[in-house]
């Protein structure tokens, strides 16, 4: 039995949409719709999808930046949505930290690196200044920075270095899970590999779990053990990374893979044509009936527009498509 650290069960997040000066309610957006996933200890799960797929919203529900409308998050088997404020502060928040996408905005420009990295300690752990400082130096060393960097301000660093600082801050409280929201996409191509390698090293060293939010499939394949492909608020395919990329089932996954692989036209097989989806992702305010992907699906059948497919297990992973029911 796998050692499951965190589990999202049937998470649904609705947002009211108001318009006009009277702020009249004109509908509900289903940003996340009945999403379930689990993360094993020391492993990485990636949520993949295009903008509007609901991956960031899902992460927010894990970080408790927003609460899910229904469903729950289980951490080490306990439902954290039942926790009171105090329990959350003691037992959950310190153990789930995050690294954000944009290293230029994720740090208070008025604070020194030592204060930025130490802030989680100041807020959560009652320690002396000296203890905090020693911890900061230790953390900076772990992410490949020097002790003297502690006295500098964020603007003195490059994007890659800033992202290292962000990682150091996320590790300050010895968390079990770190949510990585597009951790490399704001960085220059030649810097990305440094950070991805660092994250992998740290995972091994500290037995960390990662929840990665990403839109780049190649990054995901390199970083993660499990993948959930999201489309319009739902997970459409979910499973072991290798298995999923070797044997993608859902038409949307196939299209995504086709759109993001690095292949010269001359190297493609005769029968391996690029899949180009038509149209754009519909508005989550008015999602299509039946399978949400049917409006763009190259393999849509009549029942797809009427009945929503169930999640079914095929081989080592799960897929939500009528083809496999």
């Amino acid at each position: 039995m796998a050692d499951i650290l965190l589990e999202g069960r049937n998470l649904t997040m609705l947002y009211p949409v108001r318009r006009g000066l009277f702020q009249g309610l004109i509908g509900m957006v289903r940003a996340v719709d009945n999403v379930s996933f689990s993360i094993e200890r020391g492993k990485t799960l990636s949520l993949v999808g295009e903008s509007g797929a609901g991956k960031t919203t899902t992460a927010k529900s894990v970080l408790l930046l927003e609460r899910a409308t229904s469903g729950s998050v289980y951490f080490e088997g306990k439902d954290i949505y039942q926790y009171n404020k105090d329990q959350l502060k003691r037992e959950y928040r310190p153990r789930v930290q995050a690294v954000q996408q944009n290293p230029w905005s994720s740090m208070n420009p008025r604070m020194r690196v030592k204060d930025i990295v130490a802030e989680p300690l100041v807020v959560n752990a009652k320690q002396s200044k000296k203890e905090n400082y020693d911890r900061v130096v230790e953390l900076l060393d772990q992410v490949g920075l020097k002790a003297e960097h502690a006295e500098h301000f964020p603007h003195e660093f490059s994007g890659g270095q800033r992202q290292r600082i962000a990682v150091a801050r996320a590790l300050a409280l010895n968390p079990s899970l770190v949510v990585l929201d597009e951790p490399v996409s704001a960085l220059d191509v030649s810097i990305r590999a440094q950070i991805m390698n660092l994250l992998k090293d740290l995972q091994e060293a500290h037995n960390l779990s990662y929840l990665v939010i990403a839109h780049n499939l190649a990054t995901v394949r390199y970083m993660s053990h499990g993948v959930a492909i999201m489309y319009l608020g739902q997970i459409v395919e979910y499973g072991d990374t290798e298995d999923l990329f070797e044997n993608p089932l859902h038409p949307y996954t196939n299209a995504l893979i086709s759109a993001s692989d690095l292949k010269l036209p001359e190297d493609r097989d005769q029968n391996e044509k690029e899949i180009i989806l038509s149209g754009e992702m519909p508005s989550p305010l008015n999602p299509p009936t039946g399978c949400r992907f049917h409006t763009r699906c190259p393999e849509a059948r009549p029942e797809c527009s009427k009945i929503e497919p169930e999640m079914v297990t095929v081989g080592k992973h799960q897929v939500k498509c009528h083809k496999f029911v």
Binding site: R19, G20, L21, F22
Partner: protein, 307 residues
């Protein structure tokens, strides 16, 4: 669009009510109006009588109601000084002030547009620096002093223009010029900087990529977007204009709303002062409302948000 106007209109009415209340409170806060009317020979019973006359013996909330009722029926009370209805005094003074304000506003708007846009397109040239200098000077020199200096030069020394009065268009030349110079810098700076922002935008780049001539890029593509920012600060500009009118009327002894209120102040004639302040602040709110409607016309996004 109609909904937008309706909602903004309601908000304006609410704001108006707020201002009316504020004026009411300020008058009560600043002292007993009855005491202000007392002359040295008055008796204790005069005080009581005046209090009754003004309704000051009633509870505050009732006084507020009476005050509101008066406003709705257009009754702004009577002047202490000559017992004439305040509404009448105001309607006599209003045209002079309007002439001064409107002509200065139009003049400064035209100059500000021209100079602001040109300065933005010729960024960091001698022209731009000259315009900046003009703006800095206009903002630093107090308008009343500029007025006095202008009188010193043009009326006392050269005797080209009269120093006071409103009898002929000639009388308006100096006041309008000084007021224009006073409100110009603010408008010009806003137009210049918002024009600079727009000129840096991607869609201006695209217009140039299309091969649009520079003149059209500026006056067609950029200006309409650049005008949105000055509109959002219309309130500030208006406040400056009104303050300017009050001061300039006093400097050039013109019988307008400003002079009326200042005389009222000097003689502690509180119904007159209260009336003028109410009229001016309601004018501010109404104009603000009209500006917002204009704003919606320029920016299609706002128009569509409320349909």
């Amino acid at each position: 669009m109609i909904r937008f106007i309706l909602v903004r209109f309601l908000q304006t009415v609410l704001a108006l009510l707020g201002v009316i209340t504020l004026v009411f409170l300020l008058v009560r806060l600043s002292g007993d109006p009855a005491l202000m009317m007392m002359t040295s020979g008055s008796m204790e019973e005069d005080l009581v009588r005046i209090r009754q006359q003004l309704g000051l013996d009633k509870p505050q909330i009732v006084q507020y109601g009476i005050y509101l009722k008066g406003l709705v029926t257009g009754n702004l009370g009577e002047s202490f000084r000559n017992n004439r209805p305040v509404a009448e005094l105001i309607s006599e003074a209003l045209p002079n002030s309007l002439r001064l304000a409107v002509s200065s506003f139009i003049a400064s708007m035209i100059i500000a547009l021209l100079l602001g846009v040109l300065a933005a397109t010729k960024r960091d040239t001698i022209f731009d620096n000259g315009v900046k200098m003009l703006a800095v000077l206009g903002q630093a020199m107090p308008d009343f002093w500029v007025g006095i200096m202008v009188i010193l030069i043009f009326s006392v020394h050269w005797q080209i223009f009269p120093a006071s009065g409103t009898d002929s268009p000639k009388h308006y030349v100096l006041p309008v010029a000084v007021l224009t110079f006073y409100i110009l810098p603010g408008i010009m700076r806003i137009i210049r900087s918002s024009m600079l922002d727009v000129l840096d935008s991607e869609y201006i780049k695209l217009a140039r990529i299309k091969g649009v001539p520079e003149k059209l890029v500026i006056w067609k593509h950029a200006l309409r977007n650049a005008l949105i920012a000055p509109l959002t600060t219309a309130g500030l500009i208006l406040a400056g204009l009104i303050a300017g009118v009050v001061v300039i009327e006093y400097v050039f002894t013109m019988p307008g709303l400003g002079s009326l209120s200042l005389e009222g102040m000097a003689l502690r004639d509180f119904p007159v002062v209260q009336g003028v302040v109410l009229v001016l602040s309601s004018a501010v709110l109404v104009i603000n409302f009209l500006v917002e409607v204009l704003y919606a016309v320029i920016d299609p996004q706002i128009r569509y948000q409320y349909t």
